[in-house]
């Protein structure tokens, strides 16, 4: 549950901070791109431990 909170916070920050400097849509692009990269690097999730 804590992992979900961290991920939601991280995504919201990326979208909001990007919106400060660029168009809002770029924030979504960066957030989705981060999601794609994380799926490759840590498919088990950000805070999950390997079983």
């Amino acid at each position: 549950m804590f992992g979900g909170f961290v991920a939601a916070f991280l995504f919201a920050e990326i979208i909001s901070v990007s919106g400060l400097y660029l168009d809002q849509e770029w924030g979504y692009v960066f957030a989705f791109a981060l999601f794609v990269v994380l799926m490759f690097l840590r498919p088990q999730g950000l805070l999950a431990r390997r079983s």
Partner: protein, 322 residues
């Protein structure tokens, strides 16, 4: 395959615009043919368990690359569409290779491709100075209206014949894939990846082949759609809604039947048009409600789609005749 029946159907389909000139029904037929090809493109890989929700992205790339090359560099769509198909194929390689290399399958693959679809939609919207953003984009009209060089035609009859030719490629490609070693390899992979790898199947390469083929076909559908409609917007050619529309229609018609996506496209497009005509603006979004109900009913009662049971009934009869 019943060749005499195919020949009669082909002659009837080709002859249709010469005996019937109704602009609106022909327009609907052209849309059905183009979307049928797009849905068939999805089912090329979907039937092997590779559930992609990123085909909206490939379609968007196909449509926008074609239009942008025409408007900015006056590159004829005869070259622009192949470039757009290549761009879709490169995108499929970029997302497909790491996915298959890191063995991302099932729900994870669907989620990743969904992200690709969302990225394509957002990039098109964000680059509004170039693509027109959410307001849409119009390829420049050729002076005089019709031109073979510009692949622009005012007559619906011409577009019907072009769309028919493109649509015919779909079942033909499915037929070729079904009779290739690729099909056997992908069936083995769909059953058990480890077992397939153990008997010598290069899992990554085989999956990449079908993904690139599917994306290239979708790029072609996007380019043709752009040339026909002469207007594209992020919501109509890319994004999650278009990706889901492909899945819905292919599943509805029958994923494992060559004409299944065509039946799915016919039902969904006709349902949208009929609801629009009957209810007007008083029932905006009802088509999605109908899709949803149809999909739930079909998945529960006809998991092989509308054409699945028909195919199962015909098979024993054909084998008895043989």
């Amino acid at each position: 395959m019943n060749w005499p029946l195919c020949a009669i159907a082909t002659v009837a389909l080709v002859a249709l615009p010469f005996v019937y000139h109704g602009a609106y029904p022909l327009h609907i037929l052209v849309l059905i043919l183009i979307w049928s090809f797009a849905y068939t493109s999805w089912s090329v890989m979907g039937r092997f368990g590779l559930v992609s929700l990123g085909h909206g992205g490939f379609m968007g790339i196909g449509a926008y690359v074609t239009a942008l090359l025409w408007n900015y560099w006056h590159l004829t769509p005869w070259l622009g569409i192949p470039v757009a198909m290549l761009a879709a194929a490169v995108m499929a390689l970029l997302i497909g290779y790491p996915c298959f290399r890191f063995r991302i399958t099932g729900h994870y693959f669907a989620l990743l491709t969904l992200a690709l679809s969302a990225i394509a939609l957002q990039v098109i919207t964000a680059t509004r100075d170039v693509t027109g953003g959410s307001l849409g984009y119009t390829p420049e009209r050729w002076q005089g209206g019709s031109s073979l060089y510009a692949l622009q035609f005012l007559g619906k009859e011409t577009w019907y014949l072009i769309a028919l030719g493109v649509w015919a490629l779909g079942p033909l490609i499915l037929w070729r894939v079904d009779r290739s070693m690729l099909s056997h390899a992908l069936e083995a992979i769909a059953e058990d990846e480890d077992a397939a790898a153990a008997i010598g199947v290069n899992v990554t390469v085989e999956k990449l082949k079908i993904t690139v083929l599917s994306a290239t076909m979708t790029g072609l559908a996007g380019g043709i759609y752009c040339q026909y409609q002469m207007f594209i917007s992020p919501d109509t050619v890319s994004g999650i809604a278009v990706s889901l529309q492909m899945v819905f229609a292919a599943v509805l018609g029958g994923l494992y039947v060559p004409l299944g996506p065509t039946v799915g496209a016919t039902i969904t497009i006709l349902a949208t048009e009929l609801l629009r005509i009957w209810f007007g603006t008083g029932a905006v979004g009802w088509d999605n409600l109908v899709y949803g109900i149809l999909l739930v009913v079909v998945i529960i009662f006809l998991p092989q789609g509308l054409l699945g049971p028909l195919r199962a009934r015909l098979r024993p009869r054909q084998s008895r005749v043989a």
